[in-house]
Symmetry: C2
Subunit: 88 residues, 2 copies
């Protein structure tokens, strides 16, 4: 069976995020004031072929830790997704 | 008041995603078979200062369309978030 997930990979809180800082500094002058705490990470959507959702999640957990994220500077979160749309 | 959101920005379905394809091709040889339909997008977490959640979302909707995404090749989705953690 195929199971659909999204993996959110964000820079750890204690790690500085230059991309987020750049976005945050640009927004007010572009007409969007009042936006703060901007952090930019990755969102990866995918399908996992496995016998059960638990097995799929287990494989994905390992792949997220070893391949999809860098555990030194990033943390990830896995969520089950339903639609096969690009968004989630 | 401050309202916390996450904005997910994904490549549109009809747009090819070379980063996702590269990840997908790499996974089996790294020991993670059975993963397909990989799409890599951005996840942006932030706080919006506004009088109401509706006003905050409205501002963020416009900022997402004009600054945080490229509407020609990307689509975005806004979700309200609770914690101020890096993840969501």
């Amino acid at each position: 069976m195929k199971f659909r997930f999204a993996v959110d990979v964000m820079p750890k809180k204690e790690i500085s995020d230059p991309q987020g800082q750049t976005v945050e500094r640009a927004l007010p002058s572009l007409g969007y004031p009042g936006i703060s705490q901007v952090r930019v990470g990755k969102r990866i959507t995918l399908e996992v072929e496995a016998d059960s959702e638990d097995a799929a999640r287990d494989l994905l957990e390992r792949a997220s830790e070893r391949v999809l994220s860098n555990p030194v500077i990033e943390e990830f979160e896995i969520e089950a997704a339903e639609s096969s749309g690009a968004g989630r």
